[in-house]
Symmetry: C2
Subunit: 390 residues, 2 copies
């Protein structure tokens, strides 16, 4: 038998306490958690089942799979209907369910198990709790950043003349995996899809994608229209590398730009502008800052440099310049013009002011930053200048 909870006891109580405080604010008498990312947040592992979390007593862990877990509150079930039967739960007055991510049919099934309960939405509470990382979580993100940096430093040496963008990506994938990258790229919701990361060489950066990523690319097949498209990397074009930084269950998000030979002055200027935006806008991230002000300052700096038409895409633009990062790639806070998020100590966010320059490709950088009591700390420290592929 193995212990269910893999978190330190204090860490477990801290996370539980944050969620309970939010439940009290929302007057939820209980919460039922079933999403893999949220189960991992609360226990340090993924299992198939449900965490039943009353506002004022200890949680019950209803487990379907795997076998062999033990600990306080562990109850094995075969289907969700067994939850009520197995321990005769007092029906909660109001029950919070993950309405923003759980399919409609499953929510209806869960509602039928607790017919007297008023249903409220657990998703905003869990998003808010997870947006403020504990020191332990920031440590796990920082570890990912160190490993991802090690991989990025090797990228110039992985290039061979005549390579396609796919061939370079495959070597970066291999190097990442051997460094311990888990590969899995967790995204909340079903609508965004990406395999391992996004490498954009030359004009392909200007191909629009259906997904809400900052950059696009045609992809290798219309079934997955994003990222590299198999074109040969050519002199005078940029190669933007934005690959998976999930080494610990918590990820960093880092982008760097490479070239073969020189790229034109406009592209060089845009890259410098991206580095400056990162520096200035990340420094704005002190508790109380409205993230929409960070977005507006980034956009303003692009305008002042005369680069607005290339900012966050050329033919198709992204509607944000940064996003929270942690267990998933699309956490809070969102750094976008209409975001209502406000920076708090414990936030970890990626900032990615990128430009797409016609005939050259994508330029710019992306870093992941933590908002700590000692100030903003960059967790992705590979060199920021454009590097030459040898």
């Amino acid at each position: 038998m193995r212990q269910l909870i893999l978190l330190d006891h204090d860490e477990f109580l801290t996370r539980l306490g944050k969620i309970r405080a939010l439940m009290n604010d929302a007057q939820a008498s209980a919460m039922l958690v079933t999403d893999n990312a949220n189960i991992y947040y609360l226990t340090g592992r993924v299992f198939a089942g449900y965490i039943y979390l009353p506002a004022n007593s200890m949680p019950v862990f209803f487990i379907r799979r795997p076998i062999g877990l033990e600990g306080d509150g562990v109850v094995y079930i075969r289907k969700p209907e067994h939850m009520a039967e197995s321990i005769g739960l007092d029906t909660p007055e109001s029950l919070a369910l993950e309405l923003d991510i759980t399919p409609y049919s499953m929510i209806e099934r869960l509602k039928a198990i607790f017919p007297q309960a008023v249903i409220v939405n657990a998703s905003p509470m869990l998003r808010a709790a997870r947006a403020v990382k504990t020191p332990r979580e920031i440590e796990l993100i920082a570890t990912s950043g160190i490993k991802q940096e090690r991989v990025y430093r090797r990228i110039p040496h992985l290039y061979r003349e005549g390579m396609t963008d796919l061939e370079l990506q495959v070597e970066i994938e291999r190097t990442s995996r051997l460094e311990g990258c888990l590969g899995q790229f967790r995204i909340s919701g079903d609508s965004m899809e990406l395999y391992m990361g996004n490498i954009l060489a030359g004009e392909n950066a200007d191909n629009p994608t259906p997904y809400d990523f900052a950059m696009g690319g045609e992809g290798l097949d219309p079934s997955l229209p994003v990222g590299c498209n198999g074109s040969v990397i050519r002199e005078g074009e940029s190669v933007m590398v934005d690959v998976n930084g999930n080494y610990t269950g918590y990820m960093t998000d880092m982008t760097r730009t490479y070239t073969v030979g020189n790229i034109n002055a406009l592209a060089m200027k845009a890259h410098r502008c991206s580095v400056e935006i990162c520096r200035e806008v990340s420094a704005m991230a002190i508790p109380g800052t409205e993230t929409k002000d960070m977005y507006h300052r980034a956009e303003e700096m692009a305008r002042e440099a005369g680069l607005y038409e290339y900012f966050m895409g050329h033919r198709q633009k992204a509607g944000f310049v940064g996003h929270g990062v942690g267990i998933e790639i699309n956490e809070q806070p969102v750094i976008a013009p209409r975001s209502r998020d406000i920076i708090q100590t414990g936030n970890v966010f990626a900032l990615e002011p990128k430009f797409v320059i016609p005939h050259v490709g994508a330029v710019g950088i992306e870093n992941t930053y933590a908002v700590t009591p000692q100030g903003v700390r960059c967790l992705t420290n590979a060199p920021e200048d454009i590097e030459t592929l040898k």
Copy 2:
């Protein structure tokens, strides 16, 4: 501008016709499709948006991203509420929505756009339509099978003495990607997660996973508890390889077993039993066969061979022996003891009678089969015997 529909016109009409027939059976006056896999099925590409499909007139394609698509019925929108406004749709009497996969909050939002419509479930209709592949779809799956076979034939040459399971997996991933594997492993729903594939060496095969895959494995980190765990591949143990076969947007599912040196007689016997089950049970797949009978025959053959305690797992067992394959890995028909699915011409399914032998590891094979008018056709033709890693 690019044409939205990438399917041949006849192929498009065939798929549309199948869904409309199912809508008529269910008395749905319209359907709204938003899942990436279903949008890909209907158009041959993924876009962000909605397909509004009336039972008796041509569909409207409401597109949010990417820019630049054109064709009959294309309407650009910024949010779903613009659907009703933009063309003044007659409110349908009943509207089919993908209730089994779309999050609860999104369904509530869509219901509010069509307040007079009775909501019915589109998910079973789309699953049923997609379970019966067209000849063109089978061709795409067969192409994946040929490429996957090419990769599997190279596996013995990728091994180096002293390798870990992860190191071998990374080389197989690289070979697959260079052969054109898209990497993306589409699974319906959010609950199953896997990166690229599953390699199980030795005792790790007996580690239970939370996911509903046939086999388990500890994984590299508790945030993704499935597959290889970094252990060194040792003599006398088996190495089961079950990696991603998505080369065309349509995937094959194939498993083969490898060893370093010899494995014991029990494991050899179980492997032969798996090959025999595949042969006999796949041949049962003629139109009209109940898939639960296929499951029972597989289980019976394992029992007759005295291998039941190792069948489909040892410490933890999987509840099925096969599943439909296509755009996603968990399609219909399901080959399981309580399945109500019945084999039809056009079904494509994977059969994976596997065994976990203590102290040796996982043995057995998996093939993907198409049910054609000319009989059952195997689409994954790598050698089935246990191969030695050199």
